[in-house]
């Protein structure tokens, strides 16, 4: 595919030049010229008022027969024989996609002594479980997991393979994708099936969340995506769900595994499970100092929630980074998100705007946080939060 300028229609207004997020368009005389930086994102097509730009297909055909590929697969990442929370989200999303396509939901899991995990995965709705059980797979290494999963993909040919965008998923995903000669979309926040051709449309943020891009992988299989934790709806647990289990053969030659885990060191940081919380109360620079988090903690514990923060409060040293919500912190979607003294920089909004109910408390009525809030209170948080605590006491 490439973008072409239809000379007869172009009026030389240069709107496309300004709209291009990649600075790929330059004016050459009165006509725009599409440069090498073009990614065919289509921003220019949307702004052109004269229909003078079009996408044309000039790509080389791939050699694979995509009709041989079926089923949606989820990679079930385990650490110390516990499923990562994102796996249950992927199962929920994978089920939805499989139903749209009309295919099965498969799961691939690697580890040692993983009977309990395969049972859990079955309850979370897997139709087929491909499992590899071997001592070399107890903890993740790139070489071992890549080999096992690559061989399974070659043999069973899934059309979609989803991984959680954890540190491990983002190591494994690219390694498998290169082996399979297919594409990979990183850190997706939305997945859809195109109703016309049943292909996977993968939406992800770029440019620090300033731009969203929907990516397709048309001619290569599987269509692979890593999915940001905390975004998708969790799968339902059903004890009676039945599935087929298929063991995968595992054998490694001497010297084939070139990475060895010597030891795992758990961080001693306070464990903040932002992704699992139903209620998050977050504080920002508006607190005025670290002691402000005492009040935030009070409201959070009253509501049975946890404490979050903006990047600014972390940078100021008021609270550890593990509390940070946003683009460079954790993405969350709790039932209730209360933003106190947070103005709402785009990077913060990117990490919390999927929350079911957002409440913003801020002195500045023009703060961008109010643009995404379901309920806004303009006022001093040191007065508003105590009043809310009072009101909560009043109802019980």
């Amino acid at each position: 595919m490439s973008i072409r300028v239809i000379k007869e229609k172009c009026r030389g207004c240069a709107l496309c030049v300004r709209s291009c997020p990649f600075e790929a368009i330059h004016m050459s005389g009165k006509l725009p010229e599409i440069g090498a930086a073009c990614t065919e994102c289509g921003s220019c097509l949307e702004v052109c008022a004269f229909g003078a730009l079009e996408k044309v297909d000039d790509s080389r055909k791939s050699d694979i027969d995509i009709s041989e590929y079926h089923d949606v697969w989820v990679f079930a990442e385990q650490r110390e024989n516990e499923l990562m929370p994102v796996v249950i989200e992927l199962m929920g999303e994978g089920r939805r996609l499989a139903d749209k396509i009309g295919c099965r939901l498969g799961v691939i899991v690697c580890g040692e002594n993983i009977d309990r995990l395969t049972y859990e995965l079955s309850c979370y709705g897997a139709d087929v479980i491909y499992y590899a059980d071997a001592p070399e797979l107890k903890t993740y290494t790139t070489d071992a997991y890549t080999k096992v999963i690559y061989e399974a993909v070659l043999r069973y040919k899934p059309e979609i393979l989803l991984l959680g965008a954890t540190h491990i998923g983002r190591d494994l995903g690219p390694s498998i994708a290169v082996k399979c000669g297919t594409g990979l979309t990183a850190d997706c926040t939305k997945l859809e099936i195109n109703p016309e051709d049943k292909k996977l449309m993968q939406t992800r943020p770029a440019f620090g969340g300033n731009l969203m891009a929907t990516i397709v992988c048309e001619k290569h299989r599987p269509q692979m995506a890593t999915v940001r934790p905390g975004i998708m709806e969790k799968a339902k647990y059903d004890r009676d769900h039945e599935c087929t289990e298929i063991p995968l053969e595992v054998s490694f030659e001497d010297g084939e595994l070139r990475e060895r885990v010597i030891k795992m060191v758990k961080s001693l940081r306070e464990k903040v499970s932002l992704t699992d919380a139903d209620v998050i109360v977050s504080g920002g620079l508006g607190l005025g100092g670290p002691e402000g988090f005492d009040l935030i903690r009070k409201l959070a514990s009253r509501l049975g929630g946890v404490v979050g923060s903006s990047r600014a409060a972390v940078d100021a040293g008021w609270i550890p980074h593990s509390h940070q919500v946003g683009q460079t912190g954790t993405t969350v979607r709790p039932n209730i998100y209360i933003a106190c003294g947070i103005s709402g920089a785009i990077q913060h909004l990117a990490g919390m705007q999927e929350s079911k109910c957002i409440i913003a408390i801020n002195k500045n009525e023009n703060a961008p946080i109010f643009e995404v809030a379901d309920y806004g209170i303009v006022g001093d948080l040191y007065k508003v939060i105590p009043a809310i605590l009072n009101a909560l006491d009043g109802v019980e």
Binding site: P174, V178, Y375, I377
Partner: protein, 262 residues
């Protein structure tokens, strides 16, 4: 020892604003910078050079001609040589295609002990090119490296960051490591470094120089395509409560109860 550091020049995404009228990105005047994680990767290489005299640190990038600025910054920090892969044929590459072109560039550079890259670039945030490059070159890899504990004769012992701590990992050499910002604090450029940086020639290689078929690079070789891109729609604005502080608090709690949110 020889270390190859792969870097990218990126727009400073913190400086990007959205045009409120058209809803498009305003790139005018947005400065281009050396990708922050790549600066950590380079710093890690330079520290090995400090420790093991005789080490060569070579920097490789793929990008438009302007990416020379980022490469000169690397030279000014203390890199020995810099090379740029630049051609119209490389344009529009996704991560998969980028890693192929970089792999050809690395092969042209010859033998090495380590390849370092940043964990991810701030414009795409994919963290994919590092592992993809390792896979193409058949190298073992450790991503999210926050420290090198020991360089042994045939292996290296690193700390690999995870969400809840880190792994101590022994990896065969040669290998590829991707750096996180917690690894180190990148050094400043020195005056002498800057002077040297501008005297040095940066070879610019195109597809013929690295021997890659045009069908195997750029957009042609990208399995993923951008179907469309858009500015994220703001969530609909909600209700701003009014009244005294206590009235607003009462009304908020009442509304949450009413909708069964509380």
């Amino acid at each position: 020892m020889r270390i190859i550091v792969c870097v990218k020049q990126v727009p400073d995404t913190n400086e990007i604003k959205i045009d409120p009228l058209t809803g498009t990105l305003m790139r005018d005047g947005v400065p281009s910078i050396l990708n922050p994680d790549d600066a950590n990767a380079l710093e890690a290489a330079l520290r090995i050079k400090d420790e093991y005299p005789g080490t060569t640190v070579d920097v490789l990038s793929m990008g438009p001609a302007q990416a020379c600025y980022a490469l000169r910054e690397c030279l000014a920090m203390g890199a020995d040589n810099a090379y740029l892969l630049s051609s119209r044929a490389f344009g529009g590459a996704d991560t998969c295609s980028t890693s192929t072109t970089l792999a050809y560039g690395v092969r042209k550079l010859g033998d090495f002990d380590f390849i370092f890259t940043g964990r991810q670039a701030i414009d795409g945030d994919t963290a994919q090119v590092g592992p993809q490059l390792a896979q193409r070159l058949g190298l073992p890899i450790a991503t999210y490296v926050q420290n090198i504990r020991e360089v042994k004769e045939k292996t290296v012992i690193v700390e690999r960051q995870l969400e809840d701590g880190y792994q101590i990992l022994e990896v065969n050499r040669p290998c590829l490591l991707t750096a996180v910002k917690e690894w180190n604090e990148p050094r400043y450029m020195t005056v002498i470094g800057i002077e040297n940086a501008y005297r040095k020639e940066i070879p610019v290689w195109d597809e013929k120089d690295i021997g890659i078929d045009v069908q195997d690079c750029g957009l042609n070789a990208s399995p993923t395509k951008v179907f469309r891109s858009f500015t994220p729609p703001p969530k609909g604005k909600g209700e701003i409560l009014s009244g005294t502080v206590s009235e607003m608090a009462q009304s908020l709690v009442a509304k949450l109860m009413e909708k069964h949110i509380l």
